[in-house]
Amino acid sequence: MKYYVIILASLLYFNSTAQELFPLAEPASSVPKGVLGFRGMGQFYQEFSQTRKMFAIRALYGVTSKLSVEVTASGSNHHDTLLPNNLLYHTHTASGMNVYSANAVPLGLPFPFLFAGFNFYAKYRIFSHDDEKSHFRIALFADYSTVKAAHDEAEPELLDDSPGYEVGFIATKLVDRLAISLTTGYINSSYFSEYQWQYIWPAQTTILQYGNALDYSLSIGYRFFPNKYSGDYSQNNFNIYMEFTGKWYGGATVSVNDVVASIHTPLLEEGYYIDANPGIQWIINSNSRVDLSVGYHILNKSYDHFYPIYNLGFQSYLFLKKMKPNYKLHTPMPAPEQQAN
């Protein structure tokens, strides 16, 4: 814990002159109007002998100077094709400890890589205050997920695990090389329904309603390199980040043949947690970025994933009209022959 405090303190100390292109959170700023962007994401964590993987591909578009939209398709090997037989009792604690119970699903089972679904996201900037080398912006966002996976925990995860929608706001402050952003959202979860017949007799319809949640994150970014721009877009930029992410979610409700069942597992009960995700980012040609962040638990743990959790990202903007930027900058200003003043 104290390491995070030290990192946070050092970030704030270098208040000289960062960046808001957070590896995990969205900034309040928008995608430039008429610009199409692509993002590839990979998420990895080790569950005993199995490496759990999630891959997603996202298209971003700036509809207006204030409205940005995103569509993401994702898939993972996080889940089996079916819910566990003993859904109401099962445990597969993500505490990192080797805990088994009579009703436990063995950990580290190989699951197939399955397509999860689509996620639609829109962000509208409602407030902007820009100054020289600084800004403060607030945006509202809405997120709708059609993801369908046999996700067997109460915690909703709209990107790749569970369906539902989220509404919230983002506030981002940027001063020179430092950026700080706060995101808060309310997740209204949907459900997963399954007609269980393969391993259960008599067959039954199980509906798993995921918990609603308060989603929160605090992200801090700092431009580590360069200290001063060389005046060339091709100059490499490196940003460092610390992102605190988490959720406070309600318990799930399970109904079997329309009768609400009693739950006997913490996986389906309410909970909350905070993860810390230090990260680094490489900006290439002032247009593409490669992100890497590693998540650790600092307060409770998510049952949704194991730790450490690695997030990789690659994002690039396409400026639809074919144009080449002027890579050489800082040329002398044209001196007017006569400048009345």
């Binding site: 002159t17 960062a18 960046q19 808001e20 292109l21 700023s29 928008s30 995608v31 430039p32 109007k33 008429g34 610009v35 700036g62 207006t64 100077s65 900037r125 902007s128 205050h129 820009d130 100054d131 020289e132 080398k133 600084s134 800004h135 940027l174 020179d176 090389r177 431009r223 001063k228 721009y229 005046g231 877009y233 100059q235 930029n237 900006i283 002032s286 247009n287 970025r289 903007y317 400026f319 009209k321 144009m323 930027p325 002027n326 050489k328 900058l329 800082h330 040329t331 200003m333 044209p334 007017p336 022959e337 006569q338 400048q339 009345a340 003043n341």
Partner: protein, 169 residues
Amino acid sequence: MKPYRIILGILLTVLLTYTAQAQFISAELGVDGLTCSACTRSVEMSIRKLDFVKDVQMDLDNTKGIITFKDGANVDIEKLAKAVINAGFSVRYLNATFKSDGVIKISDNFCFAYGGSSYQFVKVSPTDLQNQIVFKFIGKEFLNGKEFKKWKDNLKAQCQGKSTYFVTL
């Protein structure tokens, strides 16, 4: 509107304005709200989309850019400011260089007509201008909030034409 007012309006426009075979050749603009090279590049690309822009040279450290316009192009200064806004940022200042082929006698609230728009000079003393003249644009979309506040009360449109820009020297 009574006919004599229309005639008077036309007469005033003719008397108070000066048209010439001349044009805006370049502009310098400061951009607020950006600190990163990727953001600067987005601003540049947004400006480059404009059909009257010949070249853009951005200055990352000082968050400003020099834009040169195509010869004979009808430069739309409002579109230039809008390009910065579309990229997600704001204009701190916008100074455009106008190449004149004659002498322009200006005075306070003098209306200069060019390319279908009027340029009303604000807070200037009577001067004769020629060759290259730097127009400093005044407006919500051309200045940052604090700077615009200083000018707000001095802006009373007196020019004819479909759009009026307030400028100073």
